[in-house]
Symmetry: C2
C-alpha cells in the first residue's frame, strides 16, 4: 500500500518540483516503486523528466475533468528510469478549476487515482504555487504532506496559510492528512539569511520533531540537471544535490508514517 | 503621466517581488515618484516593505471587488521611504476571481487606478505566479511589461505561455501593452546553467533588443534585505544587489517607452 505524499508550499520557486523529481528518483534507487503525479498546470515535473506527450496522452487534466469510467492506469506513463512512473500534466489543467466550478464533489476528483496505490511504494504529488482547487484535490487524495521550505523570508511566511489550509482539510474532508515534515531547501550556511530563517524554523513549535535533519543545499547541479531533464541522482550521482536527495530519501524511509 | 509597468512571470520564485520592491526603491532614489501595486494574494511586496495594515485599510482586494465609488487615492499608503507609495494586498484577494466569476468587465477592474497615473512617474505592479484574472487585470491596466527571468530552465519555459497571453491581451483588451524588456535574475556566471540559459535567451528572436544589459546577480543581501523588510538600496547601498538594481533603474530610464 503506497505512501501518498503531497509536496506543497504556496510560495513560488521553493523547490517543490525539484523535490518531487529528485526525491522520487532517489527512492527508486532504493528499490522503491515510485509514481509521480504532476498537478501543476505549468507541467514542470513532466518537462523536468524529459517526457514528451503524444496528442492523445491522458494527463491530470483528464483525471480531474474526464468521465468517471477513466481507468487511472491508462494515465500512467513510463519515464526513462525503471521504477519511476508519471501521471503527466498539461497546460489545460489551468482551466479545470473553472470547468468544475459548480460540480459537487469537485474536491474529490483526484481520488480516482486510488486504485494505483496498491501498485507503488510511494506516490509523490507536485503542486502549483497556490492553494486552489488543484491543491485541495491533492490534499484530499494524499495521506502525508512534505513541505519544501526555502530558507528565505517569504517562504517562511507562507507556512501560516498552508498549515491553516491543512487543518481545514483535516477537519472537513480528509482526517488522515498529516504533515510528515518540512525540508529546508536552497540552504547556504554562509549566509545570515539562511542561518537566520533556519533558526526561526527550528524554534517554531508547530514543526517540533518535523524538521528533517537532511537539508537540501543550494547547488547548481540541481538546476543543471533540470535543464538536462534528468533527476540529479541520475545526472551526476556524486554532486551535493544527489547526495542531499539520497539522504532525504533515506530519512523519509526512516520517518515512515505511523499509519 | 506615469509609466505603468507590469512585472510578470508565471514561474514561481523568479524575483518578481524582489524586482518590484528594489527597482521601485532604486527609481525613488533617482528622484522619481513611484507607486507599487501589490496584486499577489500572498502580499509579499506589502510584507517586504514592512507595512502592517490597519483593520480598515483599503487593499487591491477592495479595488477589485469594491463599489465603483471607491476613490483610488484612498487605497494608497505611505511606506517608510519618501517617494515610494504602495497599494497593499491582502489574502482576501485570492477570493476575487471566484467573486467576480460572472461579472461583465471583470478584467477591467484595476483600471479604477487610472486617476493615480498623473501623480507618479512610475507605477510598478507585482503579480502572483499564475496567469489568472488578477494578472489579466494587471495587463489591462499596464502599458509596459517587465519580465524577470531566472537563468534556470523552468523560468525559460514559462515565457512561451506568457508571450501568448500578452499577445491575446493586445489583440482583445489592451493594444497599448508592450514588452519593454526581460531582466535576467539569479545570475551566477560561475555556473553552466546560468550561462547556458543566458545564451538561449540572447539567441531568442522574440527578445531581440529587449534583454536588459543589467543582469541581477544571485546575491544573499537581496534575500537578507527582504527578511529585514527593506529595499536592498536602503538596506546596504554598496552590495551587489543594490548596485544591480540601481543600474536596472538607470537602464529603464534610458529605455524610456516610446509612447
Ligand atoms: N537546492 C537547489 N539548488 C539550486 N537550484 C535549485 C535547487 N532546488 C531547485 N532549484 C532550481 O531552482 C528553480 C526553482 O525550483 P522549482 O522549480 O523546483 O521550485 P517550485 O517550488 O517547484 O517552483 P513553482 O512554485 O514555480 O512550482 C528551478 O530552476 C530548480 O531547478
Ligand atoms: N537576485 C537574487 N539573489 C538572491 N536572492 C534573491 C534574488 N532575488 C530574489 N531573491 C530571493 O529569492 C526569493 C524569491 O524571490 P521573489 O519572492 O522575489 O520571487 P517571486 O517571483 O516574486 O516569487 P513568487 O512567484 O512566489 O511571487 C525571495 O526570498 C527573495 O528574497
Ligand atoms: Mg514547481
Ligand atoms: Mg512574488
Amino acid at each position: 500500500q503506497a505512501r501518498v505524499i503531497a509536496v506543497v508550499n504556496e510560495k513560488g520557486g521553493v523547490g517543490k518540483t525539484a523535490t518531487v523529481i529528485n526525491l522520487g528518483a532517489a527512492l527508486s534507487k532504493q528499490d522503491k516503486k515510485v509514481l509521480i503525479v504532476d498537478m501543476d498546470p505549468q507541467f514542470n515535473a513532466t518537462h523536468g523528466l524529459g517526457v514528451e506527450l503524444d496528442e492523445d496522452a491522458l494527463t491530470t487534466y483528464e483525471v480531474m475533468v474526464g468521465d468517471d469510467d477513466l481507468d487511472p492506469a491508462d494515465a500512467v506513463i513510463a519515464t526513462k528510469w525503471a521504477g519511476l512512473g508519471l501521471v503527466p500534466s498539461h497546460v489545460d489543467l489551468a482551466g479545470a478549476e473553472a470547468e468544475l466550478m459548480d460540480q459537487p464533489g469537485r474536491e474529490n476528483r483526484l481520488k480516482r487515482l486510488r486504485p494505483l496505490e496498491k501498485e507503488y511504494d510511494f506516490i509523490l504529488l507536485d503542486t502549483p504555487p497556490s492553494l486552489s482547487l488543484l491543491t485541495i484535490n491533492v490534499f484530499t487524495f494524499a495521506k502525508e504532506v512534505l513541505i519544501p521550505c526555502q530558507t528565505h523570508p517569504y517562504a517562511l511566511k507562507a507556512l501560516d496559510d498552508l498549515l491553516d489550509t491543512i487543518e481545514l482539510v483535516r477537519e472537513n474532508i480528509n482526517p488522515d492528512l498529516d504533515v510528515t515534515g518540512l525540508v529546508p531547501t536552497f540552504y547556504d550556511p554562509r549566509t545570515r539569511v539562511s542561518r537566520g530563517i533556519m533558526e526561526l524554523l527550528q524554534a517554531d513549535e508547530r514543526f517540533e520533531g518535523k524538521i528533517f535533519d537532511t537539508v537540501i543545499r543550494s547547488n547548481a547541479t540541481i538546476a543543471e540537471s533540470a535543464w538536462k531533464q534528468k533527476p540529479v541522482v541520475f545526472f551526476r550521482s556524486r554532486s551535493y544535490g544527489a547526495l542531499d536527495y539520497t539522504n532525504l530519501a533515506k530519512e523519509l524511509l526512516k520517518r515512515g508514517n505511523g499509519k
